[in-house]
Assembly symmetry: C2
Homo-oligomer: 316 residues x 2
């Protein structure tokens, strides 16, 4: 299997104007699991495709993903990403906006290395994916100023913001390897379920994760009042008094961050929200595994099985 | 000839999440000359192409252009665009960033409506153009904090930021109509010359333009200390005392905006910078017209001739 990390690290960003490309290099060399390009390769391998033929799309997906992180960090005013200062902190906001724009263009440039007979369809899939992610981010931002977000709305949001990317990565890989429509759709559904499980796991880790392995500061979602699966579930389960206490803590500007995180986490503990999250993660993991039953069984399939199962026990 | 304005106004943006698409509709329905899509159509008509076959690319170019204006306005903190509040003023900065991102994706989506046999090459041209524009914007921002920008550096910047878009619009139109490489390149060169003349004209109008027809506030470039052709030429021509006086006015935080504009404009008048600008505009207009001598002579050619000539006398 191609070493995606090496492929990405090898892209030469030493170009003028340096002020535009250095933040792109900084972002793309800050590590990350490279999960999405791996999924594109696995989607292809599942149907006997060659890695080299998927590589342009795999790299485009990873660059696009990192572009969304860069701009999201500006919008969310996030200070840390993968244990390092975000681009708008290390440089400034204008640099983060413009280098992000160029990153999106670089993603399309990488995509355009696909052979002419495959490029048009992949481009159309890629655009659908990209639009879904932007719509998801929009819902996510709108939720911040709303007190009446339902768990259904939340699920629609993370489906767009987080799940469509892995799903399209798999679908594009499968298409490039010659899989038929039904196979592509089944693998896409697997990707959506894995993506949803992954995001809820991420919400859980923001509260119960190990700072050393999580890469982000614990409690970040709580501090910016993000409507996560944890918060929405707690809000739904809480009695009137607990709900008031929770809102009071979340909206209290004077409360020191640490205390706020502790206060909200205590409520989560009391309401066993962690248990609910783990249950839902289990359900989506199960759905994902079922999709794989209708697809070829080979090494790639084993990887995808393991990936689904691993989500149920990411480092806590 | 297809009514580009109508085509753009007809795109339906009534989609959820409204918070993402309304700013896009607001931006695309705020008028503008639709010059770039017109150029794509003219580039095709020059070689006997059909308008309908260029339309997806023409619309993509206009949407991409408006995306760059949207994000540039955030970075430049511009308050007014085409006589209306900019998106980050009317909504907020996050909306301007995200709706801008989605606009870029919409441009690629429109482009992807091209037939499969044409799309790959046009996509690659489009990506080169998009990268050039981002690089140009980066140089433009870097110039703001530099006191040693040369006119050559300035010309390279506006070539990227302003001239490549019309040049690629023409080239893409010509390619879609079946023009050969040399013809495409000659038309591209015409576009670069016209684009450079257009930008220097724009710099001139920021000082000497008619607010009613200019759409932007007069003196905006002076107030944000933008390194324009006017300023760089004045700086080059000025003696030590004038230079000091000019810098003093530009860097004076306490000076009322109106006074600052008057002070700098007086210096421009004294140094006859307007005359220099008009000379350079004339030279590029001439270069552009010469390119047309090597290309087919028909109605489209006449339009392109008139366009080049009109630049030499845009409403002042």
């Amino acid at each position: 299997m191609i070493d995606i990390n090496r492929q990405i690290e090898q892209i030469n960003w030493h170009r003028e104007p340096y002020g535009l490309y250095e933040p792109i290099e900084y972002t793309l060399r800050s590590g990350g699991k490279r999960l999405r390009p791996q999924l594109a390769l696995l989607g292809s391998q599942l149907f006997g495709g060659k890695d080299e033929e998927v590589l342009p799309a795999a790299l485009a997906l990873e660059v696009f993903h990192n572009f969304t992180l860069l701009h999201d960090d500006v919008m969310d005013k996030a200070m840390i990403r993968r244990g390092r200062p975000t681009v708008h902190v290390r440089w400034n906001e204008n640099t983060a906006i413009l280098s992000g724009d160029q990153m999106m263009i670089e993603a399309y440039r990488l995509l355009s290395r696909l052979p002419d007979d495959k490029l048009p369809h992949v481009l159309r899939l890629f655009n659908e994916m990209a639009t879904g992610i932007c719509e998801g981010q929009q819902y996510d931002m709108e939720f911040e100023t709303r007190e009446d977000v339902t768990i259904d709305e939340y699920m629609r949001m993370i489906r767009l913001k987080t799940a469509v990317l892995p799903a399209y990565a798999l679908r594009i890989g499968a298409y490039l390897a010659g899989a038929n429509e039904v196979q592509q759709q089944t693998l896409y559904d697997y990707g959506i379920s894995v993506g949803l499980a992954f995001q809820i796991q991420d919400d859980l880790l923001d509260v119960y994760g190990d700072p050393a392995t999580f890469g982000k500061a614990i409690g970040g979602d709580i501090l910016c009042g993000k409507k996560t699966f944890m918060l929405l579930t707690a809000y739904e389960k809480a009695d009137a008094d607990t709900r008031t206490a929770m809102m009071a803590a979340l909206n209290n500007q004077d409360m020191p961050p640490e205390d706020k995180i502790v206060a909200v986490t205590c409520i989560y503990n009391r309401l066993c929200v962690r248990n609910d999250a783990e249950k839902v993660i289990g359900t989506f993991t199960e759905k994902a595994l079922q999709c794989l039953n209708h697809l070829p069984d080979n090494d790639a399939a084993t990887h995808l099985k393991n990936l689904a199962n691993s989500l149920a026990n990411r480092t806590l």
